[in-house]
Symmetry: D2
């Protein structure tokens, strides 16, 4: 951390800041410029120091962080890519993993039928929500345990791995009995109670970026889980909230290569939420693969116009099959396979 003193800050103000830094077990490095004094804070645990209290000390202009606030999630911690295994599927390796399925599990036949179709098209993980975070209390809230059972049956029949969302600490045990991968949705990206509890499980976690989460916050979310002992975390770009209203969200394609550079964790892309519009999903899925994503999550519904949720951004099985076929040569062009 660097502390910039105000122009004309006095010697006693500088000394007070230095004393406070040293009190916390860090060393300082003073740099007196013509206009200002700058205080460098040196120590191995810089990610643990708090900037804020220094900002209200007399004579301080501002503080700036030099190191990332995360450690376990960083490339410095683990230079080679982490590969996560879920029901036989290797996530984060040379093969690009396609996770597909409906937003919500709407019934037994519906999910089983969809599972067969997405498997045939090339998916290896089946997605489907049993507990649903809906923006209206009047909307369908998910089938709960019943939905989990149907998912497990679909896994049984197809051999696919399954992923489903967990929304609350008290649901972890139940969801964990069924799922291969816990999904944490965008709205729970900073639900620290949930993240900490997932850090005490031993199942992979698929962590979505917050609705307006920064890349830094996404990695801090991963750090929360990892600092609890569970190192099997995937991070997912799913579009961010911007001023643009022509699309539901803005898929931040920059995040894909940047995350690959900052972290060793698998990097996922969710073009359905990233765009909110079926007609943009294929092009953005291709872009994500070209940009280096390890995982694609695609919403697929047997009849999108009758979907109980997210119909506007779900592909039908035919569209999904065509998309996967079109993705293969792009994957090949960047040295990967699907």
């Amino acid at each position: 951390m660097i502390i910039v003193m105000k122009q004309g800050a006095g010697q006693s103000q500088i000394e007070a800041v230095v004393a406070r830094v040293e009190e916390q077990g860090f060393k300082v490095h003073l740099s007196r410029g013509e206009a200002r004094t700058i205080i460098g804070v040196i120590g191995a645990d810089e990610h643990k120091i708090q900037q804020e209290p220094f900002e209200v000390m007399d004579g301080v202009e501002k503080t700036m962080r030099v190191m990332q606030p995360y450690k376990l999630a960083s490339r410095d911690f683990a230079p080679s890519d982490t590969v996560i295994h879920a029901n036989g599927v290797a996530i984060g390796g040379q093969q690009i993993v396609v996770m597909a399925g409906p937003c919500s599990v709407e019934g037994r036949e519906m999910i089983i039928e969809t599972a067969h179709m997405v498997k045939e098209a090339g998916a290896t993980v089946l997605r489907g929500g049993a507990f649903k975070p809906r923006s209206s209390p009047y909307s369908f809230q998910g089938l709960g345990r019943e939905g989990l059972e149907y998912l497990a049956e679909a896994r049984e029949q197809t051999g696919l791995a399954i992923i489903t969302e967990v929304m609350s600490v008290d649901e972890i045990e139940l969801v964990g009995e069924y799922t291969d991968i816990f999904q944490v949705g965008a709205r729970n990206n900073q639900n620290y109670s949930l993240l900490k509890a997932l850090g005490r499980t031993n199942k992979p976690v698929f962590l979505k970026r917050g609705i307006s989460g920064t890349i830094n916050e996404l990695l801090m979310g991963a750090e929360y889980i990892m600092s609890g002992g569970n190192m099997q975390v995937m991070v997912c770009e799913r579009g961010i909230r911007t001023y643009e209203t022509a699309t539901r969200n803005t898929f931040d394609v920059n995040a894909v290569p940047l995350l690959k550079q900052l972290t060793h964790l698998p990097v996922c892309a969710d073009p359905a939420h990233g765009t909110g519009m079926v007609k943009l999903v294929p092009a953005v899925a291709k872009a994500a693969v070209a940009a280096g994503a390890d995982v694609l999550m695609i919403e697929v519904h047997p009849d999108p116009a009758r979907a109980w949720s997210d119909g506007a951004q779900s592909l039908n099985p035919h569209q999904f099959k065509q998309l996967v076929d079109e993705l293969r040569p792009i994957a090949a062009a960047v040295g990967r396979e699907i």
Copy 2:
């Protein structure tokens, strides 16, 4: 809801949409323009209809919502202002309520001392966090039950009401034993599991706008709680995330009068989080009062430079007293009192 058909949409496409609308128990009103056909959806429960599935039907260009998706929280539902009572304090009436205290309860003496000081300056509610949502897992996470006990003791000694944050469904019972008002933080604004559970309690809830929450989402959060039976909800503007980095957040002062027009619930303002900088808090607190806020929440710490959290945006007791004194004539200018 209005469904806009594409230019050149065929008769059978229009009929299919009409049939789907009617299937769901709504009536339609067709309007054939020179360029496009527009289908109006008519019914008393418009806030329950889903737009999305219609957007993927053949021939549909887009859908537009006409009515608000919330009902209980709206002005139409309750034309006069809701007044909420907490330990003798009336919130939402002619008197502007000042809630003050530290970000975190750091110890027994600290919170009791602060309670006396903020009371003397004019506050009637004491705030302080016992369970803390911190962006780093390496930061102080709150004193938990111990913190709640100190808060209760401070209430005992001063007669102030108390408000403290609840982060998770499994904490509600414990926190509810102590607090007068549940606070839901910005990061949990769309933690629907938590909101639903709070809807089943009978204590007032202070609901903060999400970090990048819309005004609509804030009111839908209130609707979640109210639809569970708990009508005692306050909504709080606390700054939103924008591209501007000169301040921590952008206090959305427009939200204050707009919320007053849209809802009957008390409207709160949090200038500390809204700015992130002590030096801006007084001016923005004044702005909030001038704009019509019913409640001000202000972070006050006996020694901000030694605060365990949010030091950079906390007033010291002297600054707080001066601020309340300066707020009184502004309150008077808009026909209120502090």
Copy 3:
């Protein structure tokens, strides 16, 4: 346009609105719901009607636009893709066009050397700024006419087409003497005086999206130029301003397929400004091609660490050559060539 009346709006209020609509030469279509009356405005010139005045009429809740406010730029106006020709280069056809070169023309040899290098790597258009919009008045402002002469000489030697920025109405004549394509920068996207004047020229215009411009505003900018008679416009996604600070801008990859669907004009992508970081440019350039861009603009400098502007986002010639080579199989995968 649709005008939504308030709940309980009276008959005389409705009649006043209807009268005002008809006054302006449009027809109305009334739809009386249980809760509200909705007034549809019908007419061929809907893109010319103003919403705003209706919003302050008594009894009006809000207005909603149904049709796009642009006409000449829309797909409805010209269903097949527009192909623009500049010094023998066809822009918008089956071949993806690569425009490359330095941010600023820094000298004669520098631009000529760069021209030869980018041509060899596969570019067909040379970019370089002679008039520079710099955020500081203390920064290098461009070589002006001298820079234009060097660009023209580079064209002479290489056969490349050239593109350079024009910032002001009074520069159009001078810049037009030299350039093959006028570039309008992000900061001038809503400089309507400039757009109108360019609409009276007969040279192609490369129009960048504003720094926080919507897709709609980008197309309205094109409409400004086209309504003046110049139909040779390209629109360029170059990253938008969001809350994310890990990158300079957020490249809005959604905009690429959406623009292809909304307009017949060539769609360009600028990954250098879209990311601001050399280390992200190749991945985002690949994403843009996979998403369907017709044109890539890439900043290339012989020695980025000594560039007078935009060094942090410029590739060196070696990196550029490698990028173009890696783009070819992706272009092929989406049925294009480079």
Copy 4:
């Protein structure tokens, strides 16, 4: 500026960076931490150094600016408030100045009538657009010279000062013949050709913040004008573009006190554009005064529902008079007068 080297950057990389810094006439201060080396750049002209080229040098992680990039606009340059005089009106002093009038000058009688009414209510400056930046080429573009003449006549009759927008370098001479204050609109905030040309005039300039301009960019815009020799600049908060769609813009009330702290220039507020909705203008105008604004600009139209532009955010004369009356006690509460 501070240059942070990568973990493990080599000695030769550090030396290369140091050499490059010294080449440009600055001194360096090296700070070797356990993990990283940090290079401080020291010199009186830090606002002139370019960060970017350093970011692509081998071994460099990132650069951080310590000082503001503006000088003449900063509080350090002129500690006391600048007061600007326009036709007898002192702007930036103890008296809060109210500028009022229609968005567009629509005719002779209309502007003269409005001038009398706003003067009577308490305004001292008359606003009105003769050259209009409209988002559609099909909208009314302003009366041009004719509008300027009517404004001048209104000044003649009322003694008010006048302010009107200038959009282009070639309009400066004409507009300057009539106006007392040049207005630069949000869309031209980074039209550097225009700012430079206004820096060579000797009339006050009212500079609006860009549609998504940062506070820093607003002050750099002022610096552009001031560096040309014209020190009479006012800066205006007019709402920024955010993800919130319930209002047209988000009025950034934080900017008011922050600007007062960063600059000596008068700070203005435009609640009409800041909200876009008549029903929010009064509350936000009050907030701006409470937060410390020196100037309020208010759109007033004799019949907003028939305004040719900006009707939805214009007060009628009656509403305006009432607002000014309500503002007086708030001004008094913060030690000012209207």
